[in-house]
Symmetry: C2
Subunit: 105 residues, 2 copies
């Protein structure tokens, strides 16, 4: 097991999205704007790396939500650590944008 995997922007974004409380595929697609063919394989890879853990929604009848079951994800401890390390890298874009703006003002 690789104990310090490098995350692509997409992987980092998906992790952060889950961390922000959007905890199943369809919702992640919605928030990120990424297509299913990007999100679901990414989720599968993140789980293989043990950065997230999934669990199928239980007792749907009880909730009576009248829709297909969701697969919920949450970050593992390792997932949180790895995300924290990716933070610097993937906020750089925004930092450059902000710096450029304030310079022009």
């Amino acid at each position: 097991m690789d104990h310090n995997p490098k995350l692509s922007y997409t992987s980092a974004l998906v992790l952060q999205t889950i961390s922000s409380g959007y905890s199943y595929g369809f919702d992640i697609m919605d928030v990120t704007g990424l297509p299913s063919g990007t999100v679901y394989p990414a989720l599968r890879r993140l789980e293989q790396q043990e950065l997230i853990k999934s669990s199928w929604e239980m007792e749907r009848a009880a909730f009576s939500e009248q829709r297909p079951a969701r697969k919920y994800y949450k970050l593992t401890r390792e997932g949180k650590e790895t995300l924290a390390k990716a933070l610097e890298r993937y906020t750089l874009f925004e930092q450059l944008v902000s710096a450029e703006k304030s310079k022009r003002r």
Copy 2:
């Protein structure tokens, strides 16, 4: 010619870095932390797409900087437009991070 190319995070970051005033490969590597094997091919692709334009540093003797010549890049009009469009996509990560922080406070 594709007149609305989709940029990878790396491509967008390189564009933004140039836009911020870091205008040659070595400097871009420095600012982004990306290796030469990522930056130079990215620059070549961006130029092929006509999002940036390069020019070799001239009259080095005149400047007397005592180092190898630099290849300077600047954004084309199309490059600026394309970067502007990529902005929303690649500031999403930071936005989610900020939102999560303020929620916890």
